[in-house]
């Protein structure tokens, strides 16, 4: 790999790395590097329940198909489906206690090994030519140019990607991408048939039995994460390996990462690794101006990553 140079020299400024967010910034959101905590559950619960009540009433009066408790049923169904699709037997029941998951990507740790990519493809049976997760390499040259390309699934070793002269490079880093699991997910908003739904744990999922394959969600996702699976004809996306986290396992990409650049865990547990790291280190989200409120957060990225 030609990339032993200064990959990780892009320390985020302005917040005081090593301090807690409140120590460094005062108020939440007072600087670009420190973001507010994910919106509290009460608001989400309220919205979800209000929608459920409204739709429940509508469905009961007009429609033959009930939507009551749909999220839980759909989540269970998807967990079963994903398990069978990946050869894992046994459907996990939705947890009784609601939890809120988060995902942290540390670009200062990522080395572009590509292990996560293969793990995801195998785990989720992702068709060739499509990706539930990918890793972007950002190379900032001294002359001001920025080169962005995709990390091969096999890593750089043996790939036909030309080597870059380290003397020309000012800084460089890898930015893994996956579903942002937005709190205000545009993909969920635009789905006309309730195929896109949010699990009780705040994970955006697709009900394969309801999806009509209109691809409106594909258009609406600002992060290019969704696609129409050519094998099934339904919308496909990263679920943070929902079927695995139902079994208290880590997502496949997290498990495969050799350097711990991907951190998954509970945001509602202050003792979880992700909570501790988010509290200590400034993090940011992608395309914040769109107001989607992603639960995927990044360490060490700047504005050019979108």
């Amino acid at each position: 790999m030609n990339f032993g140079l200064n990959i990780l020299n892009n320390s985020a400024g302005g917040c005081g790395s090593g301090n807690s967010a409140s120590d460094g910034c005062g108020d939440h959101g007072a600087c670009g590097g420190c973001r507010e905590a994910p919106p509290e559950r009460s608001r989400r619960d309220f919205l979800k329940r209000a929608t459920t009540i409204a739709f429940g009433s509508f469905s009961l009066t007009l429609l033959p198909v009930s939507s009551g408790g749909a999220a839980e049923q759909q989540a269970s169904a998807l967990a079963c489906g994903a398990s069978s699709a990946t050869g894992v037997s046994g459907a996990a029941a939705v947890k009784e206690k609601e939890v809120l998951y988060g995902f942290l990507v540390d670009t200062e740790k990522c080395v572009g090994a590509g292990k996560c990519l293969t793990a995801c493809r195998v785990e989720n049976n992702v068709p060739e030519g499509y990706s539930r997760t990918w890793v972007e390499r950002f190379v900032h040259f001294k002359d001001g140019r920025v080169q962005v390309d995709l990390v091969p699934e096999t890593g750089y070793a043996g790939s036909d990607i030309p080597a870059i002269n380290p003397d020309l490079v000012e800084r460089a880093y890898f930015a893994p991408k996956l579903c942002n699991q937005c709190v205000d997910a545009p993909c969920n908003q635009v789905c006309p048939v309730h195929a896109a739904f949010t699990s009780p744990e705040g994970i955006e999922l697709v009900d394969p039995d309801r999806c009509i394959g209109c691809a409106y969600c594909v258009q609406a996702c600002p992060y290019g994460v969704r696609f129409i699976n050519p094998d099934t004809g339904i919308a496909d996306k990263c679920t943070w390996c929902y079927h695995r986290i139902q079994r208290d396992e880590q997502p496949a990409c997290v498990e495969a990462c050799p350097v711990g650049a991907r951190v998954f865990g509970r945001l509602d547990d202050p003792e979880s690794e992700i909570s501790k790291r988010i509290a200590k280190i400034p993090t940011s989200v992608l395309k914040e101006h769109l107001g989607t409120h992603p639960k995927l957060r990044y360490i060490g990225i700047t504005g050019e990553v979108n």
Binding site: T51, A54, F55, F58, S59, L63, P64, V65, S67, G129, Y130, S131, W134, E136, G144, R145, V146, Q147, V148, D149, L150, K177, P186, N188, Q189, V190, C191, P192, V193, H194, A195, R210, C211, I212, G213, C214, A215, Y216, V218, Q219, A220, C221, P222, Y223, G224, V225, R226, F227, I228, G233, I234, L290, N306
Partner: protein, 386 residues
């Protein structure tokens, strides 16, 4: 672009094909035709009488096939009714089923009422299978009284009044589908529904002029010059509004020069240079503007006016198709990374290919031909102009 081209992996697959170009094109033809019909039925524009029935039937024929491109596009068309069975209140698209169904129902009832007297008369006189069809369509009525005619006229006017906002909703809503996608800076503008609506009126009138001139020529009848001139005036005015809105959107984007303008400007100057700059603006907007200006001159000879209007209308139909293309396909030619462009693979065959698209556009015309065989599209006083 920093000299670097980078496309998100999933963005290389263009999700919305030519069928999604056809859908707003067809609904635009419906909305525009209905508005012309309403100009006669609601606003008593007697000069439009020769095309009032044609406009209404044309709206119905195109509306009847508006869902075909969508069904061809859906990966699971067998689940299409989910959009009505389990609609999501938060989705702009979920309103489609209800809006479309209500509008279709309105059109069917209005067409039936407009032709009811003819249907009843033919139910009495016609024999054989066609007689049976008219008897079914007449719902047992064998006589039209003055009272029932008055009631029909009242209902037609009421439906036309309701139909104007309904037509606006049907098509403005299509624009909203695109305008509400905040992930896409080429689509995300509040002007989009208005732009779609204005171009719908333009395309509807243009198609009506083309159909009227063509059908008159086929029937060996001289088209009503006053009617064509009036339609051309409406077309010219509507074209100015539609193109002004389109340009306003573009100028606003360029002047504001937001974060994604570098992508959009490259899109316009490179990827859409022909379909936007040449076809939509030059051939489709500027040329018809001049041709119509010449055509609607009060002292223009009808023999000259009608070919000018016809040619302008054909060009406008191309313009509106190009506009739909540039919006739908253009909006998918750049990656959401805003660092690179993708290719749009337009296939010839297949469910979403060119041949299928041509068939979809032909089906409403076949339906119109059939309707013309079954129903009197032309007023009785017209034949004397032969």
């Amino acid at each position: 672009m920093d000299g670097s081209s980078f496309v998100f992996p999933n963005d290389s697959h263009v999700a919305w094909s030519i069928m999604i170009v056809l859908y707003p094109y067809i609904t635009g033809l419906v909305a525009g035709a209905f508005i012309v019909s309403s100009l006669y039925h609601v606003f008593h524009q007697e000069v439009l009488r020769p095309v009032a029935r044609l406009a209404l039937v044309k709206a119905l024929c195109f509306c009847a096939f508006a869902t075909v491109p969508l069904l061809l596009h859906l990966h699971h068309p067998e689940r299409a009714f989910n959009i009505m069975i389990t609609p999501s209140a938060t989705s702009a698209m979920s309103g489609f089923g209800i809006i479309y169904s209500l509008y279709m129902l309105l059109l069917v009832v209005e067409v039936w009422l407009v032709f009811r007297a003819d249907i009843v008369a033919r139910a009495r006189s016609a024999r054989g299978p066609s007689g049976l069809l008219y008897r079914i369509l007449s719902f047992g009525d064998r006589e039209i009284t003055k009272e029932s005619q008055a009631a029909d006229a009242w209902l037609i006017r009421a439906l036309s009044i309701v139909g104007i906002p309904a037509a606006c909703v049907l098509h403005g809503y299509v624009g909203f589908l695109f305008g509400a996608v905040k992930a896409n800076p080429w689509w995300s503008t509040a002007l989009m529904p208005v732009i779609f609506l204005a171009s719908a009126v333009v395309s509807g009138i243009a198609a009506l002029i083309v159909l009227y001139l063509f059908m008159s020529w086929r029937r060996n009848v001289t088209p009503d010059a006053a009617c064509v001139r009036s339609l051309s005036r409406y077309l010219w005015s509507s074209l100015i509004i539609a193109v002004s809105l389109e340009m306003l959107e573009l100028v606003h984007m360029a002047y504001e020069a937001g974060a994604e303008w570098h992508v959009l400007s490259t899109l316009l100057t490179e990827r859409l240079a022909v379909s936007y700059g040449v076809v939509q603006v030059l051939i489709g907007s500027l040329c018809p503007f001049v041709l119509l200006l010449l055509a609607i001159h009060p002292r223009r000879n009808p023999k000259m006016m009608m070919p000018l209007s016809g040619l302008a209308s054909v060009l406008i139909l191309v313009q509106v198709f190009a506009m739909r293309w540039n919006v739908v396909v253009g909006g998918q030619l750049f990656s959401k990374s805003f660092r690179g462009f993708v290719e749009f693979p337009l296939s010839i065959g297949g469910r979403e290919g060119l041949i299928a698209a041509a068939v979809v556009l032909t089906l409403p015309l076949i339906a119109l031909w059939v309707a013309g065989r079954l129903l009197p599209l032309w007023s009785a006083d017209e034949s004397c102009r032969t």
